[in-house]
């Protein structure tokens, strides 16, 4: 006798699953935006000639890259909220845990973005920044008007690919009890005793989204890469 599939819990739970997917997408979008902004600042600090800034950025990036995402999420879910509550005398009712976990996720991904952006900045020829200085620009003008626009154009495919990886990583917020898409699918499967179907369904949904997105990135890369 083999396993008998019963997919009937899926149609009824679609609205619930969609709510979960919205949370996954929201976490992804938030982490991508924070990751790119904070990652750019970190990359600029790392490449800066001011030693303490460069040490701070190197320490930050190396620390986050040495620790598993699961650990980072647990830190920000279990430990950081307690710390903040005692530090700022928060009313005990306020639940910081979910926003803290989302913040931890974004801070973690920033370290990875910063490495991509650093490589992107370093790929811009040195003459560009010398030329900007020769025109009388300050450091920040040169960065904003000359270096970063070129760096970002080179990095677009890598940033998007990292976005896909990040979207997959969001499933790990499972450890913090945030009801993302995977958490929702697991809950439905657990409730109806149809874990097999729901897990396979969740896997298929992730596959379709990530595979199509990565094919799109590939096409984009072909279209815009210098032939």
């Amino acid at each position: 006798m083999t396993y008998e599939f019963d997919w009937s819990s899926i149609p009824g739970s679609l609205p619930f699953l969609w709510d979960g997917m919205k949370i996954s997408l929201e976490i992804t979008a938030q982490a991508v935006v924070i990751g790119i902004v904070w990652g750019t600042l970190l990359a600029m600090m790392r490449l800066s000639s001011i030693k303490p800034l460069s040490w701070f950025a190197a320490g930050y990036v190396n620390l986050f890259r040495a620790v598993p995402l699961v650990m980072v999420l647990l830190w920000f879910f279990l430990i950081v909220p307690k710390f903040i509550e005692t530090l700022f005398n928060f009313p005990p009712g306020a639940d910081l845990r979910l926003s803290s976990a989302m913040m931890g996720f974004a801070l973690f991904e920033s370290a990875y973005y910063s490495e991509i952006i650093r490589a992107g900045i370093q790929s811009v020829p040195k003459g560009q920044i010398s030329a900007a200085y020769a025109l009388g620009m300050t450091y920040f003008q040169a960065m904003r008007l000359v270096v970063l626009p070129q760096a970002f154009r080179n990095m677009v495919p890598l940033l998007l690919t990292q976005g896909i990886i990040l979207f997959q990583d969001t499933s790990l917020v499972y450890v913090s009890a945030l009801a993302d898409f995977f958490g929702a699918a697991y809950k439905v499967g657990d409730r109806d005793g149809r874990l097999v179907e729901m897990l396979l369904f969740a896997g298929a949904v992730y596959f379709v989204i990530c595979f199509s997105a990565s094919q799109l990135v590939k096409r984009l890369q072909k279209k815009y890469s210098p032939a």
Binding site: A66, L74, Q168, D169, L172, V196, G203, Y206
Partner: protein, 245 residues
């Protein structure tokens, strides 16, 4: 701040009485190492095979290899792990599935985690191996064929010895990743380092000490692996290439 630091907590006898909390941590540490190393061996073997297949002229074989890579790269690790652990035993023939479900629970968790991490990482290893083979000058393959070697012989004696040495540096980062990714296996109850950390928080009520200790353990693993691989990379570097002697 009202927090009472107590680093001595690690030396206290644990709740089950047969060990100290430091012993729990060390057991988790050993589990993380054992899991990551065994999964890494699996990933290297499968990844090398799939990576080579992606470069062969046979369209069917290359297609299967490419589907394998896409499958394992586009599903989150956590989902894959749950599928290995919760779904697969149900879909196997009943006798095998039951044998699995009746075996030692730690063995079940370890097996599912090892296969999951191994296959997940093998798809990434395969991509690096493929890139390594494709980065070889085309003349190497042609020269091998011109000397009368068959295609498998050319792979075996000309291309692979070069390609495997070239992919060592990019594989280092995959090797580091497998230790970090092993923390995901705490979600199915495998008592590796991250899971022991959570357990310590519950039992000792000293969350800071527990998490700091676990985090430092991961950093130690990371630094050790990196310095070992750096030595290995130097020994194996191909003269004449950037990074070679």
């Amino acid at each position: 701040m009202g927090y009472q630091w107590n680093w001595g907590v690690f030396l206290q006898p644990s709740a089950t009485g047969d060990d100290t909390y430091l012993g729990w941590m060390f057991a988790g540490f050993k589990m993380t190492i054992a899991l990551s190393l065994s999964a890494w061996i699996l990933a290297l073997l499968l990844g090398a095979l799939v990576g080579v297949l992606r470069t062969v002229p046979n369209k069917t074989l290359a297609g299967i290899a490419s589907a394998y890579v896409e499958l394992f790269r586009n599903i989150p690790l956590l989902v894959q792990l749950f599928i290995w652990y919760f779904v697969l035993p149900e879909l196997l023939p009943v006798s095998i599935g039951d044998a699995f479900k009746q075996s030692n629970p730690v063995m079940q968790q370890f097996l599912a985690s090892m296969v999951c991490l191994g296959l997940f990482t093998s798809a990434r290893v395969a991509e690096q191996v493929r890139a390594g083979i494709n980065s070889l000058p085309r003349g190497q393959k042609n020269a091998g064929l011109a000397l009368g070697l068959t295609l498998p012989q050319t792979y075996r004696h000309v291309m692979l010895p070069m390609a495997f040495r070239l992919v060592v540096p990019p594989l280092t980062s995959e090797f580091l990743n497998i230790f970090k990714n092993s923390a995901v296996c705490s979600t199915i109850g495998l008592l590796e380092l991250a899971a022991q950390g959570r357990q310590l928080v519950d039992y000792t009520a000293q969350p800071f000490e527990s998490f700091i200790a676990v985090t430092i353990s991961y950093i130690i693993i990371n630094v050790t692996v990196m310095s070992l691989m750096h030595k290995f990379e130097k020994r194996i570097a191909v003269p004449g290439y950037i990074g070679g002697k």
